[in-house]
Amino acid sequence: PDEPLLFEIGDTHHSGVDLPDVEIDESRLGGFRRKSALDLAGLTEPEAMRHYVRLSRMNYSIDSGMYPLGSCTMKHNPRLNEKMARLPGFSDVHPLQPVSTVQGALELMSQLSHWLMTLTNTSAVALTPKAGAHGELCGMMAIHAAQEARGQGHRNVVLVPESAHGTNPATAAFLGYTVKPVPAREDGTVDVEAVKAALGPDVAAIMLTNPNTCGLFEPQIIEIARAVHDAGAFFYCDGANFNAIMGVVRPGDLGIDAMHINLHKTFSTPHGGGGPGAGPVVLSEALAPFAPVPFVRKAAAGGLEMVEHSEGEALGRITAFHGQMGMYVRALTYMLSHGGDGLARAARDAVLNANYIKARLEDAFSVSFPDYPSMHEVLFDDSSLEGTGVSTLDFAKALIDEGYHPMTMYFPLVVHGAMLIEPTESESKQTLDAFCDTMLALAADAKAGDKDRFTGAPTRAPRRRLDETRAARSPKLRWQPEEAPPAAAAE
């Protein structure tokens, strides 16, 4: 059943709060009191409850099924984390309270930093980035500041492999850098020679994802890091795929200078339908002095203090206040629950699961880069669908009818009709088997010529395929009341 928009249920007189109606003296409003109508529809509490419960039931979610969504690390979200984030000592604390009244918060930030630095073998961590892309911005700003400090502010090129997440080139461009692509090898990895060829006195940094977006660990990564450093550039690592290696490989040992960590992927703060995230950036010794404010450090007088203003060449401030405290609490709770041993076990299970799927599906689907084991995700291309009339998109939509969220499609761009599958460590063998059985059955159906069930899919979801072209052609971005029908012409 369809759920109307709130504006179609409520009106400006309904309200789900009880508040006294106080008279006010307008003398302090300087004539700016609102005269235009707000025209905001309200709902009483029972109406609001039902509206947002019903709407929610049109969503897929981790708690209702598997998300084989490559590059997104959709893992189990423990509710302990939610409960801890709501302790009044965390949730009901203002960022600008006196530091003496928030020592527990500072301690928490300090502990979280310790875990992140230990897992990555790095020297500093900037906690404040609000999400992965913001972390990239932060890391690249730190690199910019460091280059300036070296008198190398003129370096205006950033190397980015073709397989990178869109945020990488977007971030570099956002900061005014010229993006220079680095081609991939046939086997899906980056060639150290290609990097060397691209490096030069104008290159500020390379942005590289490891494990990369094809699900492979870059085998030459140490050599790449060395080449980058030799050329006077910095090595920014996109940490979106850290779930594959946490507790197993420390990026600092590979020579990276900066890497953001998506707390909402690796450390399970919930995705929330698109955020909020958190993207702390770990920094090498070379970049540590250029970290943004604020950060926590031991106070000379005992306890912890917060440094809120940049000294020297640091990059300054990238957001108001201290970042995503709510996410810090969840991530630290998650880390303490797993422990160092559990995090490593989780990474290994994530990798095991991806390779298990690969093993079960490789006869029916085309593994794009079979030379290396996959890490936590496995990449297929659409060559196995050739001649069936079923596209990657059709195949993915058919998965919806089977009760699964589709895999990541058409990314990375380096293979044709990509299907990128990341199960995460949260899925049981039973679930993986059921998923693989479904994938194989669908593949058999596609090959058997049952095209309609794919091109017409989904049929069992709250909606059939939606007309995206129409949405973009004449964008309707807010609700407007139906226009009244024109009055009948006078006789």
Partner: protein
């Protein structure tokens, strides 16, 4: 380990299916020197009740806002959030859903975002709003970059009433660009920005109520800016004020950025919050962030999708309007639900109540010897000057369990003219007893 579904027997079975003897083979591409199989120098996994005890101990070392009189604002505000809001956002289907890229199974999130966009547009008096940004401060930085794209001009002027953190964020985003003019702090609400508008100006940025609580005249600013081909960017850090104050759109604002935390979201020591951005219809293709639009499905049923994504990084890569990807979806949900519960009737009452409490506070403090209230106008926040450096006064009051506001010097250090200033906020939660406790405390501390 409670979050990991495999038993060792299952792991062995899976390895057998893969055809390898040991997990180590899966990590063969990792340089041996960097491959760790031993213990990490971190604590081992822990039962839930011990983790909970650890976190409770940390939480217990913080003084929660609700533990006593509380007047801290300056960009984040303590309001009552109905229990319904926090209950609903924890529902599995909201909390653990992914970004709604697959619209057929994401209509809940998408319709909610459409409602959110509509609410934000109505509140700000603008044509369209996006589906959220991180927060007000980064939204302000995005807005000035958007203005540059729209006007193809460079110069940006930030009002002296803009929240200092917001100013600092713009500076960092622009890497100390010489075309960025940051006016000096204006604690008396003096509006000098109009003198700085010229033909090179891409945009002026004005916050109202400003950082010090003063209400700024947007009409004059809009007229002046438009006359020179510049845009007016309006920043609002206390979105409840829009229940009582005229919408920026009414005065001709071109881009409105707001911090939406006050509606639906807890203080959370600074985050996560939710950035609102609204603009004119004709500017939408230069707007950063996600947009949800209405369309129909294959059967003609109304449905919603993310749209105009050619502005975004995952499609346009280095040509995107911003690098933003994950935004504040769940905080936007909290905002939308709380705003739905309020409606026009509730928001109006809430705003009036906030204003009335602030008047009561200002009137009480004005009577304290040694306290001067700087503001002629304010919504729920204003600035006082005291006879001593504010930082020490605040600390002394904190020792008395009164969190009395923000010393301006914390955000603007090294400026003697600001050293004795305190910014204080009142909300619907401020009681008469709280006000009396502060007034008495101030009397003692200033004596």
């Amino acid at each position: 380990m409670r979050y990991l579904p495999h038993s060792d027997a299952e792991r062995a079975e899976m390895l057998a299916t893969i055809g390898i003897a040991s997990e180590d083979a899966l990590f063969s591409a990792v340089p041996r020197a960097a491959y760790n199989t031993g213990a990490i120098d971190l604590p081992a996994h822990s039962p839930e009740f011990l983790v909970e005890a650890h976190m409770r101990a940390l939480s217990g070392k913080n003084r929660a806002a609700g533990d006593g009189p509380f007047f801290v604002g300056a960009g984040a505000y303590r309001h009552h959030v109905p229990a319904t809001v926090d209950h609903l956002i924890q529902r599995s289907e909201w909390l653990t859903a992914y970004t709604p890229y697959q619209p057929e199974i994401s209509q809940g999130t998408l319709q909610m975002l459409f409602e959110f966009q509509t609410q934000v547009a109505k509140l700000t008096g603008m044509d369209v709003a996006n589906a959220s940004l991180y927060d007000g401060s980064t939204g302000t930085a995005e807005a000035v970059l958007m203005a540059r794209r729209l006007t193809r001009k460079k110069k940006l002027v930030l009002s002296g009433g803009l929240h200092p953190h917001y100013r600092d964020v713009v500076k960092a985003y622009l890497k100390n660009d010489p075309d960025l003019v940051c006016l000096p702090a204006s604690p008396q609400g003096q509006g000098d920005i109009l003198d700085h508008i010229d033909d090179q100006t891409a945009a002026i940025v004005i916050q109202t109520p400003d950082f010090y609580g003063h209400l700024r005249d947007l009409q004059k600013a809009a007229d002046m800016a438009h006359a020179k081909g510049a845009l007016l960017i309006v920043v609002v850090t206390e979105v409840v004020s829009l229940g009582l104050l005229e919408a920026p759109g009414t005065f001709g604002a071109d881009i409105v950025v707001a911090e939406g935390q006050s509606i639906g979201n807890a203080l959370n020591f600074g985050g996560p919050y939710v950035g609102l951005m609204a603009t004119r219809k004709e500017f939408v293709r230069q707007m950063p962030g996600r947009l949800c639009g209405e369309t129909v499905d294959a059967e003609g049923k109304r449905g919603f999708v993310l749209t105009l994504s050619t502005r975004e990084q995952h499609i346009r890569r280095e040509k995107a309007t911003s690098n933003i990807c994950t935004n504040s979806g769940l905080c936007a949900l909290a905002f939308t639900i709380h705003m739905s519960l309020l409606g026009e009737a509730g928001l109006t009452r809430l705003a009036r109540l906030n204003h009335a409490r602030a008047i009561a506070l200002a009137d009480a403090l004005a009577k304290v010897p040694g306290v001067e209230v700087l503001n002629q106008t304010f919504f729920n926040e204003f600035t006082i000057r005291v006879g001593k450096p504010a930082a020490g006064v605040i600390e002394a009051l904190a020792q008395r369990n009164v969190l009395a506001g923000v010393p301006v010097s914390r955000l603007e250090p090294g400026k003697p003219e600001l050293e004795n200033l305190i910014v204080l906020a009142a909300t619907e939660l401020t009681t008469d007893a709280d006000i009396a406790a502060l007034a008495n405390g101030l009397k003692e501390v200033l004596a």
